[in-house]
């Protein structure tokens, strides 16, 4: 049994919060550059150029890429041969978020009550998801999630008879509804299967995958590229001003479900699709 102290976890979460908010992953950067090359509209090109300049400034000056430094979504894959020592895991993750958001001069965007509001002042609590896996390591991913895009997300409980066409229509309808609001070009995370809650989690996890890695199942890899093309044919374009690049990628994650249903969740993200991972 390997021992990992919560002090280590705090330190990693703190660092990942800062780094994820300042440095765009290289796969997203490459994807934005590729889209810039293929754009032909003047406004669309200008916007993609400014988006590139923006993440370059953030990286070189160590400032947040976007002012919405998000809710801290923390995914942990915990090896079952790990014994966590120290305080409670949730407290440690929140402490890491608290320290990271203070030290990194990141925006505190969390309110204590969904209806009565009131900023918590330290961006806690984190949205923590833990999964027990084989091994003696802990893999920690921090994905700050902005709400301009989060607000445009949707979930629907389909009857199995809706089939793949139902899902395709739902994806397009959700992107169309989102329009310019989620700061396009967007990344579209799709979760299909499981239960109501699991489908939403799959959609969020899909956003943590590198955009240059398609779904392992060729059927869904094909669906990802088909939907990307269909979305980009909508003409919404960068920032909604018209153009080829409405989305950078469509990422689909699936899991088994019940004979009676076919849950489908769509989690929309902006071009600032941030995530950073470390293994301890």
């Amino acid at each position: 049994m390997r021992e990992i102290s919560t002090d280590q976890i705090i330190d990693v979460v703190r660092r990942l919060c800062i780094e994820a908010n300042q440095n765009l992953p290289s796969d997203i950067k490459a994807c934005i550059k590729k889209c810039r090359e293929s754009e032909d509209g003047e406004i669309a090109q200008d916007i993609l150029d400014k988006i590139i300049t923006n993440y370059e400034i953030a990286e070189s000056e160590n400032v947040p890429i976007c002012q919405d430094t998000g809710m801290a979504c923390v995914f942990m894959e915990i090896g079952q041969d790990v014994h966590i020592t120290g305080q409670s895991l949730a407290d440690a993750v929140n402490e890491g978020v608290r320290q990271g958001y203070a030290e990194g001069y990141l925006r505190k965007s969390v309110v204590k009550d969904p209806v009565r509001r009131g900023n918590t002042g330290d961006n806690t609590p984190a949205m923590l998801y833990t999964e027990i896996v084989d091994g003696d390591k802990i893999k920690i991913t921090v994905g700050p999630k902005g709400f301009g895009s989060e607000n445009m997300s949707a979930i629907r409980m389909f009857k199995p008879s809706a089939g793949i066409q139902g899902i395709k229509d739902f994806i397009l309808e959700t992107v169309e509804n989102a329009g310019p609001n989620p700061c396009p070009p967007m990344v579209v995370g799709v979760g299909i299967g499981g239960t109501f809650d699991k489908a939403a989690l799959l959609a969020k996890k899909a956003l943590m995958r590198n955009v240059d890695i398609p779904n392992k199942d060729p059927y869904y890899a094909e669906l990802e590229s088909e939907m990307l093309e269909k979305i980009n044919n909508l003409g919404i374009g960068p920032q909604g001003f018209g153009g080829k690049t409405t989305a950078l990628a469509v990422m689909i994650e699936t899991m088994p479900t019940h004979i009676a249903g076919m849950p489908c969740a769509i989690n929309i993200n902006c071009h600032v699709t941030r995530h950073k991972t470390e293994v301890i």
């Binding site: 509209g41 406004i43 669309a44 200008d46 916007i47 400014k50 988006i51 300049t53 923006n54 993440y55 400034i57 953030a58 000056e61 400032v63 947040p64 890429i65 976007c66 002012q67 919405d68 430094t69 001069y105 990141l106 925006r107 505190k108 965007s109 509001r117 900023n119 002042g121 902005g146 301009g148 607000n151 329009g179 310019p180 609001n181 989620p182 700061c183 909508l234 003409g235 919404i236 374009g237 920032q239 909604g240 001003f241 018209g242 153009g243 080829k244 902006c270 071009h271 600032v272």
Partner: protein
């Protein structure tokens, strides 16, 4: 068309701006977002004055990150304007004319824009680090307790924006997409 604009945004000036124009804005603007706008509209409903003079003012929907030591302001890109739709007609009725944000607006906001010669500018969503470069001063005016939603007066120089909806109600989101789709169809 590309233009340099000096604030305040008078009615005459507003009427010369058209959807699709790229503008570089210089002058004083006022920041706030959800909770701040709610508070301002409540003040007006109670017959109180706003913490600033709204005549010909331009409002920036933003909740910046905290400034690092030596910085004027942190990252400061636009937030989704639609959340301020409930307050925008009231703000325009007391003189505010310009709005900077991103995303769709409701028909009632567009109606108010036509009535009061309002202009809705788009800043690039997500480009907070770049936009912060145009901000030359920042002063907290009111609602400090709201944190990122507080009311601030900023002085901006050549802030890069696009006119999304003009004072006649013409909308770049509709026109731009239509133009792209038409150009694409004609290539086939």
């Amino acid at each position: 068309m590309e233009r340099k604009i000096q604030l305040p945004l008078t009615e005459e000036l507003a009427k010369t701006l058209h959807a699709g124009d790229t503008v570089y804005l210089t002058g004083e603007i006022y920041t706030s977002r959800d909770a701040g706008h709610k508070r301002m509209c409540e003040a007006l409903a109670n017959g109180q004055d706003l913490p600033f003079d709204p005549k010909d003012a331009t409002l920036y929907y933003v909740g910046p990150t905290p400034a690092k030591p030596g910085q004027i302001i942190g990252s400061a890109g636009p937030t989704t304007s639609g959340r301020m739709d409930a307050y925008a007609p009231t703000m325009m009725s007391v003189g505010a004319r310009g709005m900077i944000g991103k995303g769709d607006r409701l028909p009632e906001v567009v109606d108010a824009m036509k009535k009061y010669s309002g202009v809705y500018f788009g800043a690039i969503g997500g480009a907070g680090a770049l936009l912060a470069k145009c901000i030359k001063s920042s002063e907290l005016i009111a609602y400090e307790d709201l944190g990122p939603e507080a009311l601030r007066k900023l002085y901006v120089e050549e802030m890069p924006l696009v006119v999304i909806i003009d004072s006649e109600g013409k909308n770049l989101y509709e026109e731009g997409r239509k133009a792209y789709l038409a150009a694409k169809a004609s290539q086939k």
